[in-house]
């Protein structure tokens, strides 16, 4: 024990000499990569500037505004608005300002187009919630000031484009008025606001654009009511559907007079189709309706005469109109054929003629086209050319021009739901060094350069070459398993229902697969992916199998809709099989058992509290039967504040005999009083965490035994009043209670109240400790607390003689039904940052000391040594405690600038941090995701088990050679001398 503690001490000492593990400048990008995304594009506006770089400004569902290079798709600039600052509309004003309307139409901002600096921001209030519209008229002027027209929150505003000042405003206070369109007829000073009132009244307001004066208000009553949106077919005509979705209403309000015409859809199309919806578009003279299977394009001729121009069963997407000359409007239409998409650009008044018709080969893994944005340019032969920006089902963004995909962006990766990892294939014979390094000459040259670098003979150009060689090192991006376990596949599931495999070496996409089971279908209306689990991790007797992952998804937002399972091979990215379940999936419990083909057993709990075992094989069932009575789980009912523990009871007692279905029973419950506590966070240990030793040697040669149980649950509750924003309550009426609960027996092992504290709580559980972060209202600061839990029942095993004679209880089995004898130690510290995520490093054997990884509010990842969060820190640690590594107590935790894992980069919109152990004990792999992705390797106690990258092999070699030479020389010398002496 003494020896081990001595080693630990040495280890600590060596690490405490330089407690900061920062990078050198030339190490950036060696082991880490960073990818920037923007998310699924909602709206795109092309900059029409003649000079300068071509760009497109987009707003996305991740609340990003970005300016993209139209030639390459790179990001010029980008802003991530807050999570609740949803963008409603964007446009470009005066050719140099990007105008954005966000937060339900209450914030209007202007950004400088070239560099993305904010120019002004104004807040728009209104009487009630409504749809919001942002219109940027090109010719509407007000005292030489260009004007923006914004309708939001039931109020129409005219706003100066230069400084965001509100020039005039007009309220639409009528209770039931729902605005549908705001129309600015070109060349006039009128604004038309049309909408519905009381579900069956059509209202039209005519407003003077100069001063906001109401000129005319007309209304008309439609007994059949309205449904859905309206489509604007000209500046004075809209088309709507009645409440049954079967009659088209063409309403025109020429000169302020409302006239209308009703056309049943069945008059236009022979066969009945069921209820239809209008596809919103703004092409003049044409609109589209969509029923379950058919999309119909209808032309409006004259005053309310409708004519079907096209009926298609293909999936179709239409762009908005683009005016290409005074009276001509073009729009783009994309239709799907099996593996191609057909792009047609038509003039609005001429359906039959095509301006452009192209076919583009499209990867099936991108799914359907969701959105089309059209832009024109002038070709070298002075004719009009068109390019379109399309948004696909997998959220990727592509630019099509001249029948080709000019660039594409995988923006689905901006919304990752879940991450897991997979090993790469083992290196097969036949892959030699020569194949990897291009040829021997290159290889030699590289090594010569490196040698020059180490001997400091290299010129700056050589240094640059060495640096680029290091960055591009093919070693790290090979598709085979490496000895240190640094190369892995990160399997990520995105919100679009697509799986990506990213290589940890350089972050490239190895394969991607749009899950078929997550496609919309008859049975599954709005499928959403939930989680990823490792299904098959072959390692010893099933080495030939490929590993696979399980994707659990469900057919709708509520938890009682039926679930779908898909199994995907992680080497090839092919779906092995998929299962449509006849039950819901409320909870998935990966069991620590595998069957003969190394498939991991999973227990799925449905809404009726039945447990279903997967895979449904007899082998799995027999393994499961053996462990039947040892399976416990818990469920958290957030709404009720109840935590329940469950166990299996017997086979399902349904009418259908299903041997893989089991009834369950409640074993315990914890009911938090609803008037004083509300659960806001629950955290457990990671299932695959490895703990190296149970014993912890403390300063005075004493041993403490960690209470290590996989079944511990950390729960944080706050006062219901204090569950809102920070500062919304006084310290007196807010408190936070932290619990440690055993999930097998429901015992509360520890319970502690923090008075005057408030959530949000971020917590991480590892080994025998939990660290949680919350806000202290009294101190007006964030705090981090640590709870460590120790087992007292083994505490008397300190005596060496007991250990020698075997009179200890260390090997006796532990049962959680025994009364636990635990003690806890806790301590709180102030911390400066608020957090977005928290994680802890994990290593292969759990020997290396731990670091906490904190996702700060600035979207960076900060590493903090766990030693700072030791509950045994005291103000004046004794000499022995100092040797053990206890840091003197401070009131707040230090933030060391060099310990930012993300160094200078930011992971915009940070949502999660995942740590994966490498095979090398000292190293852990860290993947942080949000809108951006970031990956790096960390060595919390430095790489004590391998030579560093910059280790000078040349110097070692030279030393050895010199030593050998010296040995030979001295040997010769001594022999000669001996001979001479002999002859003397």
């Amino acid at each position: 024990m003494a020896i081990r503690s001595f080693f630990l001490f040495i280890l600590f000492f060596s690490s405490s000499l330089s407690p900061v593990f920062s990078l050198y400048e030339d190490q950036v990008g060696l082991m880490d990569w960073h990818q920037q995304y923007i998310g699924k594009v909602k709206q795109a506006v092309f900059s029409s500037q003649r000079a300068g770089r071509k760009r497109v400004v987009v707003s996305t569902e991740e609340n990003v505004i970005a300016s993209l290079d139209l030639r390459h798709g790179e990001i010029f600039w980008r802003h991530l608005l807050g999570a609740d600052d949803v963008i409603d509309g964007i446009d470009i004003g005066l050719g140099k300002y990007v105008i954005t309307l966000s937060s339900g139409g209450s914030i209007l901002r202007s950004w400088n187009l070239p560099d993305g600096q904010m120019v002004w921001e104004s807040s728009l209030q209104g009487p009630k919630h409504s749809k919001s519209f942002l219109l940027v008229p090109t010719n509407l002027k007000f005292d030489k000031d260009n004007v923006l027209v914004v309708f939001s929150n039931g109020r129409l505003h005219a706003i100066s484009c230069i400084d965001g000042e509100v020039l005039w405003k007009k309220d639409f206070e009528a209770e039931s008025f729902e605005v549908q369109q705001v129309i600015l007829p070109p060349g006039s000073d009128l604004i038309h606001v049309v909408g519905f009132a009381a579900l069956s009244q059509f209202e039209m307001y005519q407003i003077n654009a100069k001063n906001g004066e109401l000129l005319k208000h007309e209304s008309a009553f439609f007994s059949s009511g309205f449904s859905g949106q309206v489509s604007l077919v000209s500046t004075e005509t809209v088309v709507a559907l009645d409440s049954t979705g079967s009659i088209l209403l063409t309403i025109s309000f020429q000169d302020g007079k409302i006239s209308s015409q009703q056309t049943p859809i069945s008059n236009l199309v022979e066969d009945s189709l069921g209820p239809a919806v209008i596809i919103p578009s703004s092409v003049s003279g044409i609109f589209a309706i969509k029923t379950d299977a058919v999309t119909i394009f209808i032309r409006v001729i004259g005053k309310g005469n409708l004519e079907v121009v096209e009926k298609t069963t293909h999936e179709i997407a239409v762009s908005d109109a683009l005016s290409i000359s005074e009276d001509q409007q073009a729009f783009a239409l994309i239709q799907h054929a099996s593996s191609e998409i057909h792009l047609t650009v038509k003039l609005a008044h001429d359906w039959d003629g095509n301006l452009l018709k192209e076919s583009v080969k499209m990867d099936r893994q991108r799914g359907l086209v969701h959105k089309v944005f059209i832009n024109n340019y002038i070709r070298t032969d002075r004719s009009y050319g068109f390019r379109v920006l399309i948004v696909m089902e997998d959220h990727s963004l592509l630019l099509l021009q001249q029948g080709e995909i000019v660039w594409s962006r995988e923006d689905g990766l901006a919304s990752i739901i879940d991450v897991t990892t997979s090993e790469l294939p083992v290196e097969r014979d036949g892959v030699s060094v020569a194949k990897v390094e291009h040829n021997l000459f290159e290889w030699l040259k590289g090594h010569m350069l490196k040698l020059k670098g180490t001997l400091m003979l290299a010129s700056p150009e050589d240094m640059a070459a060495i640096q680029s060689m290091r960055l591009k090192s093919s070693e790290k991006s090979k598709m085979t398993r490496d000895h240190n376990g640094f190369r892995k596949l990160l399997i990520v599931l995105t919100r679009a229902g697509k799986l990506f495999a990213l290589h940890t070496g350089d972050g490239r996409i190895v394969w991607s697969y749009l899950l078929r089971s997550l496609h919309k279908s008859e049975a599954c209306q709005s499928p959403i992916g939930l989680n990823l689990y490792q299904w098959q991790v072959p390692h010893h007797h099933a080495m030939d199998e490929n590993p696979s992952v399980l994707v659990v998804s469900r057919c709708g937002p509520s938890s009682d809709t039926s679930g779908v399972l898909s199994f995907v091979d992680t080497y090839t990215g092919k779906e092995l099989s998929s299962l449509s379940l006849d039950h819901a999936v409320v909870q998935v419990i990966p069991l620590p058992y595998t069957d003969s083909t190394e498939q991991r057993l999973h227990l799925l709990i449905d809404a009726d509290k039945h447990a279903h075992l997967y895979p449904k094989t007899s082998g799995a069932l027999s393994i499961f039967k053996r462990e039947f009575s040892n399976i416990y789980w818990y469920s958290v009912e957030d709404q009720n504040g109840i935590i329940k523990g469950h166990a299996l009871k017997c086979k399902c007692t349904g009418e259908v005999a299903d041997e893989f279905c089991f009834d369950t029973r409640d074993l315990w419950s914890v009911v938090f009083p609803s008037e004083s506590e509300k659960t806001i966070a629950t955290v457990t240990r990671k299932l695959n965490e490895v703990v190296h030793t149970q014993a912890k040697v403390v300063a005075d040669q004493d041993v403490m035994y960690k209470y290590i149980s996989r079944n511990l649950l950390f729960v944080a509750t706050v006062a219901p009043k204090g569950s809102g924003e920070i500062g919304s309550v006084t310290p007196e009426e807010s408190w936070l209670v932290a619990y440690l609960i055993d999930t097998v027996t429901g015992r509360i092992l520890h319970r502690v109240t923090h008075h005057g504290s408030q959530g949000p709580v971020h917590a991480v559980f590892s080994e025998n400790w939990v660290v949680y972060h919350y806000f202290n209202l009294r101190a007006h600061r964030y705090e981090m607390s640590v709870i460590e839990i120790y087992d007292q029942s083994r505490a008397d095993n300190k005596d060496v003689w007991k250990l020698v004679l075997g009179k200890h209880n260390l090997t006796s089995p532990i049962s959680l039904f025994s009364r636990p004898e635990v003690i806890t130690k806790s301590q709180s510290y102030f911390f400066t940052h608020s957090l977005k995520a928290i994680a802890v490093t994990s290593t292969a054997k759990g020997i290396t000391s731990k670091q906490l990884l904190l996702g700060t509010i600035g979207d960076q990842v900060l590493s903090l040594d766990k030693r700072f969060l030791d509950p045994r820190r005291t103000v004046n640690p004794t000499q022995l405690e100092k040797e053990e590594g206890i840091i003197p107590l401070t009131e707040s935790l230090p933030i060391i600038p060099q310990s930012y894992v993300t160094h200078a980069l930011r992971v915009e919109g940070l949502r999660g941090i995942i740590t994966v152990p490498a095979k090398l004990e000292s190293t852990t792999l860290v993947f942080a995701h949000g809108v951006d992705l970031f990956f790096t390797q960390l060595a919390p106690s430095r790489t004590y088990d391998s030579l560093t990258e910059d280790f000078s092999y040349a110097l070692l070699l030279i030393t050895i050679v010199a030593l050998v030479a010296a040995i030979f020389v001295t040997w010769r010398l001594s022999e000669r001398k001996e001979l001479q002496e002999k002859w003397r």
Binding site: S669, R751, T753, H755, E783, S818, S828
Partner: protein, 279 residues
Amino acid sequence: MKWVEVIVSFILTLSFLSFPSCGFQSDELLVDDEEFGLEGAPQHRSPEPIPTRSPPVTSPTRKRHSDLDSDSKIQFSLDHAFGDSDFSPAGTFSARLKTWSHGGQNLLESDDFYRIRLPSNVLSPPGRDFIISSVKARCLPRESLDEHFVIHMEGVNVLAVNYGSPGSCPYPRNLKLPAKWSFSSHTVLKNSEQAPRAPVFTEEILGGENAEGEVVQPAERSFWAKYWMYLIPLGLIVMNAITQAMNMPEEQATGQVPAQGQPSAGAVQRGPSSAVRRR
């Protein structure tokens, strides 16, 4: 760890719980000073404090036997279930069912769960939901059926109950029938602890000057404890030197003895030794 042990008068202890029961008397502590009505009327608040019936909280643990008075003011009932059977009343809290009578033996044979439940609100049972707890049946039998309750309370609400045997219950649980089929119970009530506050050093900086001289010197360690890492190699070197010094004269002796006493063997040995000398 502050916990109050209670045997009979559960309610009386409740009144005690309503006061901060912790050593750290912070002025921040917010405990509602409500007294609970004795008669258990829902939402009823008695204006008077609890009658001064002295609570027998002095003994640390006491077995509660079946001969307890049953007229104590009971606020909630305790239900139990054998395995999967429905919950049946096991009696009110202070007068538990005396025996396991039927079902108990079967339960022990199958080592199934013995479950109990409590209302989550003491004043208006069952509150929002019942608190359930369970234990493997074979954990209970000792001399009699030993059980141990830890009831976690927050005001009038019962949060959770830890139920089990008072001692350990290691895995290979053998079937052992109790001598007496009656329960002996230990009950512990637990209230929430206060978290230690984050250290604030402002005062200590002021008082730090005076305390400077009083900094506790680490206990002076013995010479050996301090320098053992130097002493051991030193000792080894010394020992090495001594053995070498011991060997030296011996070698000389062995070098000389054969030369004198055994000339025949000495002739063989002289070769190398003369070579050494020549060198």
